[in-house]
């Protein structure tokens, strides 16, 4: 029996129905809100575990909703956006959203995103994880205090930038980090050249993490948006 409480913020009735039906079928508990005001009210009164937030709301900008919620709550927020709101997506992630779904999305995709977020919640009550000095994700282990990373017990030979990237991703495991966020954190600025460099370092880091092609995927690419480290079993 799944007891995760999910708040669905969506003004379009059929899509809302689709989501409620899906959630019901998979034993989630859910609440609905059709606009931004109601969403903020629901978050404050019912304290849901996950929020599914449509960016195009009738009364206010979805990004405003994220900012308001973020003033007091760290509840994971998954944005649902239409394809044309590509740049809004990045803006929303930078504003504090955790993940995104693009319309039209498949039911499997929605469930997968929910599972990822749940796993993150379960694994570690986020804050505690980042506070502790050792991060473990599948076969990957990062020892922050020693400044070392291990894969299957073997130490990984990482360049300083790669190590910094790995730390940033692992401290935000499960969260989609935008290019701007990453470059800001690594280099302190976000120029075009930085994003290009980021791709190179990400490729080399990934090669070291995912040495054989059948091994688990740790880092997920979100084209046009950013990267995310997946929480693996």
């Amino acid at each position: 029996m799944n007891k995760t409480l999910i708040l669905i913020v969506e003004d379009d009735r059929p899509v809302q129905n689709l989501m409620t039906t899906t959630l019901k079928a998979h034993d989630y508990r859910y609440l609905t809100a059709a606009n931004g005001e109601a969403a903020i009210l629901e978050v404050s009164s019912h304290n849901p575990d996950i929020v599914l937030l449509d960016l195009g709301l009738p009364d206010m900008d979805g990004i405003e909703v994220i900012k308001k919620i973020r003033t007091w709550s760290n509840v994971p927020i998954i944005i649902i956006s239409a394809r044309s709101e590509d740049s809004d997506k990045v803006e929303a992630l930078d504003a504090g959203a955790d993940d995104y779904l693009t319309k039209p999305f498949s039911v499997e995709e929605l469930l997968a995103r929910l599972r990822v977020t749940e796993r993150r919640l379960a694994a570690g009550q986020g804050e505690q994880q980042t506070a502790s000095s050792v991060f473990v994700n599948g076969k990957l282990r990062v020892d922050y205090s020693a400044g070392c990373a291990y894969l299957e017990g073997e130490e990984l030979h990482l360049t300083p930038i790669e190590y910094k990237l790995l730390c940033l991703l692992s401290k935000n495991v499960g969260k989609v980090l935008t290019h701007t966020f990453i470059t800001q954190n690594i280099w302190g600025h976000s120029w075009e050249n930085d994003v290009a460099s980021l791709r190179v370092f990400m490729a080399t880091l990934r090669k070291k993490l995912e040495q054989n092609s059948d091994s688990v995927q740790y880092i997920q690419t979100h084209v046009g948006v950013g990267y995310r480290m997946l929480k693996v079993e």
């Binding site: 394809r83 994003v195 290009a196 460099s197 791709r199 370092f201 990400m202 490729a203």
Partner: protein, 549 residues
Amino acid sequence: MKENKPTLTEKLIAQAPNPDVHIIPGSTAEMVYREKKARSKTEHLWNVPDMFKSVGMIIAATLLGHGFWKLGMSEANIIMVYILGVLITAVITTHQIYSLIASVVSVIVFNFFFTEPRYTLTAYEKDYPITFITMFIAAFLTGSLAIRLKRQAKQAAQAAYRTKILFDTNQLLEGVREREEIVTVTATQLMKLMNRDMLISLAENDALEPPKFFSVSGETDCVEYLTENERAVAFWVYKNNKHAGATTDTLSDAKCLYLSIRTSNAVYGVVGIVIQDKPLDAFENSILLSILGECALALENEKNAREKAEAALVAQKEQLRANLLRSISHDLRTPLTSISGNASNLLSNGEKFDAETKQQLYSDIYDDSMWLINLVENLLSVTRIEEGQLNIRMQVESLDEIITEALQHISRKKVEHRIVFRTSEDFILVKADARLIVQVIINIVDNAIKYTQKNSEIVITTKKKQDKALVCIADNGPGIPDDRKASVFEMFYSGAKSIADSRRSLGLGLPLCKSIVTAHGGKLELTDNTPQGAIFTFSLPTEEVDLVE
């Protein structure tokens, strides 16, 4: 206390932080200039060869007259000889003053040598003054006429030369279509005419492009003409539509004389003529202006032609959009009918269907809606491409990431096909709009899935070739016959009707791929696979990156 009390100059500087200093020449300078000018004119007038020629003619006429006198010929013949002398003087000297003086001197000399009493300046006979006046007038008029004739001949020759050059320029300019060529032709003609080096910079979007240097001697070193100062003068000329620079009163310390290339409507560029202490004469100046006028006209024509072509392109796009809309609204109906019909059946008679039928209906609804989703994606890309470069956000992207992302979106039918991605050994970075390139790969792979049998293999490979990244998508299906190869890239073309799915093909995918790849400066090509099948290959510009450590 100097620090506390700023001087007037300091105050002025504080008030206007970037003052332009114009030095207006005072009266002294003006006088020096005038004096020089006047002297040069005098020098020109009193030149030694002309004086020798005139004196020589008078001596010759006198000697000949003396011979006639000895032979006892009448005075009339001697007068004729003098008039002839003046006429010849007029022809062989450069200024009218010589023939005037020659006329006067002839009369005096005639009086001195040939009238009674001889070797005095007096004359006994009463009608001599009339003779003298007539002789003077006749000599002077003949001289003047000769000079005018000479001048006219010279002018005619000049005019003919000028017309020829202008005509040549005109013809040459007519033959060229490109801006660069127009500039080259103009410069070549001007160099032919004036034998001087020059710079030409064309105007674009309210600014001057970097100048092109043209040298008579074929020299390429022109650094001294490309200084800030020279550029500033050129820009001033462009902005104010007046000539400036060397030999003019405006910004005269420049090395070149700058003139605008203009029609009555607009300034198209600026030409800089290297002066090097040899000012242009009036003739050079006037023909220079004519050729620049021709050049400006040619540039205007070129601009008009370009605008017309752009307008035609817009019209063509409009037409394309209209076709697209018509075709879409027609093709949308089919899947929509199927979706709404199936859903309505399930709603009203759901309980009457057996499980298998229901499964079929669900699957039809799903397929049709997926088709619509794909269509919408393509339409969005079409609009972005049509709206032009502005909406294409080129970024440095990893090619592997793009392909991996695209493969995640391939429709679920891929389970019936094997899709293999073999990445290149090199790590390839491309400059591209990731979303659009993802769309290209999806369309090509979807296409391959649609037109090949189940269990066909689709292989995607990447390769780096010089500064291009190549992506090959090869299938081992039936392939595309040569006569259809060109038409697959045409809008609204869809392949063999025998394939069940083809009713759902809008023929939008491949043309869209082509325009996306073209917008990236790449090429999309179709070749045959061995032993059978088709290979779509497209290229993208690669990007080298300086790693930020």
